[in-house]
């Protein structure tokens, strides 16, 4: 009985030590799981990736609006719709977004953007945000706003 208990204890300790050792080993040489997806080319030259991933962090490139009426409500609606698509395509969701950068090309449009922006997030899961107005026409593709995201899987 005593021998059996000792053997079981030894077994448990050995496996715990084994787990501990492998953990230390892997912590020192962390495999860099870096994936880039959705490369966008311009004139046959790769410009940027739609998203990159590291471990379970996901970085989504900025998304603008290039369709529909040129109002801030419409542009924000399209941007948030396409951002949601990009976030979900990368394996994340709107309730797992940590940080957004929001750019408008006119400071007066921030209130209009906020109305649509706020509605896009699940209750209690709004990301942190920095919002800045750029010079008129400064958002590529003549978009009235652009939003990017850092989220996780």
């Amino acid at each position: 009985m005593k021998l059996k208990r000792r053997a079981v204890l030894k077994g448990v300790l050995a496996s715990a030590a084994g787990i501990g050792l492998t953990q230390i080993a892997s912590a020192k040489s962390l495999p860099a799981y870096h994936e880039a997806g959705g490369v966008v080319n311009s004139q046959e030259i790769p410009m940027f990736s739609a998203f990159t991933k590291y471990e379970n962090l996901v970085f989504i490139s900025g998304i603008g609006c290039h369709e529909g009426p040129k109002t801030i409500e419409n542009h924000t609606k399209v941007v948030m719709r396409d951002l949601k698509k990009a976030i979900e395509a990368a394996g994340s969701s709107m309730s797992k977004v940590l940080k957004c950068y929001a750019y408008v090309d006119d400071i007066a449009n921030v209130d209009g953007m906020n109305k649509v922006y706020d509605a896009a997030w699940p209750k209690g899961k709004m990301p942190a945000r920095t919002c800045i107005a750029v010079a008129k026409g400064g958002i590529p593709g003549a978009s009235l706003c652009e939003v990017d995201a850092i989220c996780y899987i």
């Binding site: 940590l98 940080k99 921030v110 706020d118 709004m126 942190a128 945000r129």
Partner: protein
């Protein structure tokens, strides 16, 4: 209630594992607790309603600004007020200006790029700037609240 208990248990388990030195707690894991630091008063635009979010030990702070009623419109005052708000948010998230990975700074006048450095350094404990920074100038009035500066940060617990 169930998810609350589960989250508490997860955090407890993560704590035990961390103490045991197996190193799980240091990774940003998929089941790490995701916290949103919302301000007590909702819809505080032009300030951001969410002050920070946190995943495991990684913190993303929102952009902080100085509002018109918060003192004279000087670079020194605006930097002091905005950095003070950033520091308060980091403290609430369990971090501090000593544990920064990155600050992004916006100014509303390119001429303020070098003058920003003195009040920016003064905002850090010990009066010395820490960590890396990216600084960008936008057109006058283009920072919400007509602030002269905005600062956000990525930090760790």
């Amino acid at each position: 209630m169930k998810t609350q208990r589960r989250d508490i248990l997860k955090a407890f388990a993560a704590g035990i594992v961390g103490i045991a030195g197996l190193g799980f707690a240091n990774k940003v894991k998929a089941d790490a607790v995701h916290i949103t630091g919302e301000s007590a008063i909702k819809n505080r635009y032009p300030e951001e309603p969410v002050k920070f979010t946190k995943l495991g030990n990684l913190i993303f702070a929102s952009g902080f600004i100085c509002l018109p009623h918060e003192g004279p419109r000087t670079l020194e005052n605006h930097t002091k007020v905005a950095m003070g708000k950033l520091e308060a948010a980091l403290k609430e998230a369990g971090s501090s200006l000593d544990k920064l990975h990155r600050v992004t700074a916006w100014i509303d006048d390119p001429a303020n790029y070098f003058p920003l450095n003195a009040p920016y350094a003064a905002a850090f404990p010990g009066g010395r700037r820490k960590g890396n920074r990216s600084c960008m100038a936008v057109s006058p009035g283009n920072i919400p609240g007509n602030s002269m500066v905005a600062f956000d940060a990525i930090a760790r617990v």
